[in-house]
Symmetry: C2
Amino acid sequence: MKIVIVGGVAGGASAAARARRLCDNAEIIVLERGHYPSFANCGLPYYVGGKIQSRNKLLVAPIDMLRQRHRLDVRIRSEVVQIDRDNKQVSVRNLESGEEYTETYDKLIIATGASPFRPPLPGIDGPRVLELRDLNDADRMYELATSGVTRATIVGAGFIGIEVAENLVRRGIHTTIVELSEQVLPPWDQEMIAPIDEHIRAQGVDILLGESATSFDDGPDGLTINLKSGQALKSDFAVVCIGVRPESQLAADAGIQCGDRGGIIVTDQMQTNDPDIYAVGDVTQVSCFVSKTPTQIPLAGPANRQGRIAADHIFGRQSSYRGTQGTAVVGVFEKTAAMTGLSEKQLKRLDIDYEKVYIHPANHAGYYPGAEALTLKLIYAPKTGVILGAQAVGGDGVDKRIDVIAMAIQGGMTVEDLEEAELCYAPQYGHAKDPINMAGFVAAGVIRGDQPVVHVDSIDPQMFLLDVRSEAEFAAGHIPGATNIPIEVLREHTDEVPKDKTIAAYCKVGQRGYLATRVLMQRGFNVVNISGGYTSWLRSQ
Amino acid sequence: MKIVIVGGVAGGASAAARARRLCDNAEIIVLERGHYPSFANCGLPYYVGGKIQSRNKLLVAPIDMLRQRHRLDVRIRSEVVQIDRDNKQVSVRNLESGEEYTETYDKLIIATGASPFRPPLPGIDGPRVLELRDLNDADRMYELATSGVTRATIVGAGFIGIEVAENLVRRGIHTTIVELSEQVLPPWDQEMIAPIDEHIRAQGVDILLGESATSFDDGPDGLTINLKSGQALKSDFAVVCIGVRPESQLAADAGIQCGDRGGIIVTDQMQTNDPDIYAVGDVTQVSCFVSKTPTQIPLAGPANRQGRIAADHIFGRQSSYRGTQGTAVVGVFEKTAAMTGLSEKQLKRLDIDYEKVYIHPANHAGYYPGAEALTLKLIYAPKTGVILGAQAVGGDGVDKRIDVIAMAIQGGMTVEDLEEAELCYAPQYGHAKDPINMAGFVAAGVIRGDQPVVHVDSIDPQMFLLDVRSEAEFAAGHIPGATNIPIEVLREHTDEVPKDKTIAAYCKVGQRGYLATRVLMQRGFNVVNISGGYTSWLRSQ
């Protein structure tokens, strides 16, 4: 068996290692265009910022190890320029010597990944307009960032843009982020990421939303980034990270089928339309685990698992890829945003019915020092309660809650399963009723009709806004037009609540509002609780 | 509807709040023997140690709030001394005045909890032999711990014993722990808790295992704790925390059925043999979620959920308790031990077939600063791969992994589901192949026969021990009798490996050992990988 793998990072490296374990006498050739196979691409921004100090640490699987331990024929600076399916061979160009040669294969695995999208804007190919995909890019950015420059502009506020921003700030560089959409970190829903946007600005970063670069002028006094609005930003350098595109041209040229967005179409065993050719990682189109629709989600975890699965199938194993859930996390100046499953905007786009709830608990018992606020949004099927997605922002404990829900989604579980989840509890780790349980309680309460909710984006001006917090809380700020009747005295003051209107009750985060909803429902009022309470309302402003 | 709840902490408080939400005009009486309903009992040790500085913070639901907001008739210092089932009434003693009165009920909820076990040892009732159940106990311990004393002895190394030890050390008190069994924190398997034992001793705490107190002598120069071995410990005070017993006597006296270990027997709706009487929390016998056998596990999370369920059933709701999984966590001097599901020793006791694997990954990508080692033990059904339990020890990220597996157990999921789990990954949070995935890979590999394993407790002297680490690692320490052939050169040296013996391969944590196992298996050797490698072996010594 002779396996040729095109691309030696993440998916390609995993496929190679798995193939070797399954068959020690297979010939396995890894053709990597860059200088390094299997480097830590998720660590690049942190190397630029100095958080990771040793460049060597990024070389997670040194080439000698791959050659000696795994007996892989790893060839760096080797670009595959053509696939000849009829003769089952690839043309390889040695990027050092320029020579070309052919290599035959029994099975071919395409793991070419995705490359940063670079729109054809004037000046984008200038020396001070960077991107960050590989170690060479990181070296260049490192050099610039530590050369005493003071201003940088980042085009694109996705994962890499935000991580680069944090790390340039770490280097003392004043950083501006330009983002085409109306929010940073577009995979999250806008209201969930608002506190992260605020937090980034609080570190001195300028964020320009709904804005884009139209050209880059490299002049003697620095780089000018011209924006759609007419504004011009002066910078010492720019970083363009406006998303990636699957590097599927090589495959497409050979007649391998690709999807609308360019990803190679594969089976659950990662096989392309040519049964001897597999594709894994960011170059593929995957199925969304939740909606079962085709999608394109570049993530390291899925790439690694896909590599295993391709190798498994080559050697007759029965593993299959279940689809990508979109579990993701990003660290932003000591805060964390994480998500799994579908976002609300994706559900709208896919026209899938959903309900959602918001909670704002602390990450652990409030009486134990160091508790940090977190916000959790849980999205689920309105009748069955099957979990469709979740997003969380805050500090410690955000990734934990999303991981737990990610596992629940993997198991096809419901909000009732979250109610019954039995999780670690000691006061420094969580709550006797963990945020996971709380989200389940609230969502299940909505399904059972115990607690009808309204969301801050759907409050009707005809509703009677009932603030059940204390007078002091009300005085410190409230939703305009609300009437204050603290929950403690509500039962004696129901005559002040109209019977002919929908009552929208709220408190700080939703718990007293829930009790008020129960009190009023049982007295015949038409009442809903504002999910997430005043905290959610503030976020929406 | 008139509901009387006996006990106002955790389960009782949850039942009361839930009942109120379900029925605003029910009469709900909470009879609490102590001075405070709903205090933070899990926070008591940290109040003693000064980590929680304000005593008020422990009063999570002040009595006024319960009375005004929830309209609960909360009566403190009120002990129920008799249940008269025929007349559906209880006799209540006012502990302040000594008066007794009766209170009728439509439904009675018993939430009396569990009390620290105090064996009838000479001197145990002396003023310097403490326990830690309620705020009064905490006040007393706080006073002693801050009075300038220097020596304390803790009898019992369970959760509370260990938490108290940490907090007495925080107060600068030299602390000795006496534990009857051969390990600290008996719910964990011994080999998993060994690093925690070491870590506690490294803080200056003395631990005496296989030892117990036989009497306490209170003398003018302090307290003497006499031990079974004949040793006598001088201390300023002692804390006895050798487990708890359900406080079910009141129920038993009224003919409510209790199990062998004293817990009240309840249905999945928390109903006792008297349909008008429910029991929730530590006073009940529960069903183990995994084995479905009756058990007695005092935990705050389950108590809270049981309280909800009892109230639900009273008001005709369809919720039911699924059983207790035994998810638990303890923080020990900045380290964490967590577990969920059944331990290996419980499985042995229950005679349930299991397989197990050990991994020793870092909590997040090693190239990102601050990575901490963790050890994860995954226990599963040998054929189906259904997860039976898991234990982890380490620093950051331990509770997260156990919570994810707890959710998987709740969903009846398998080790293959762990392989496919899609979890949060960025280098400061995890790995592209998270420890959860790794544990799944290893366990599934064992099931598929790709990787036969042997455990350090089953290494046969007839086996050929093959150390595939580097020469330098081997020189620094190895299993006695092992032969060193580094994985990098193993393929050229298979003639040095005997064909007529079982080869037990190992490396540092199991990964190179796995590859060696694959290399040798494919060459016809009879080979197994030592699960967890040299790290596991060291732990077993």
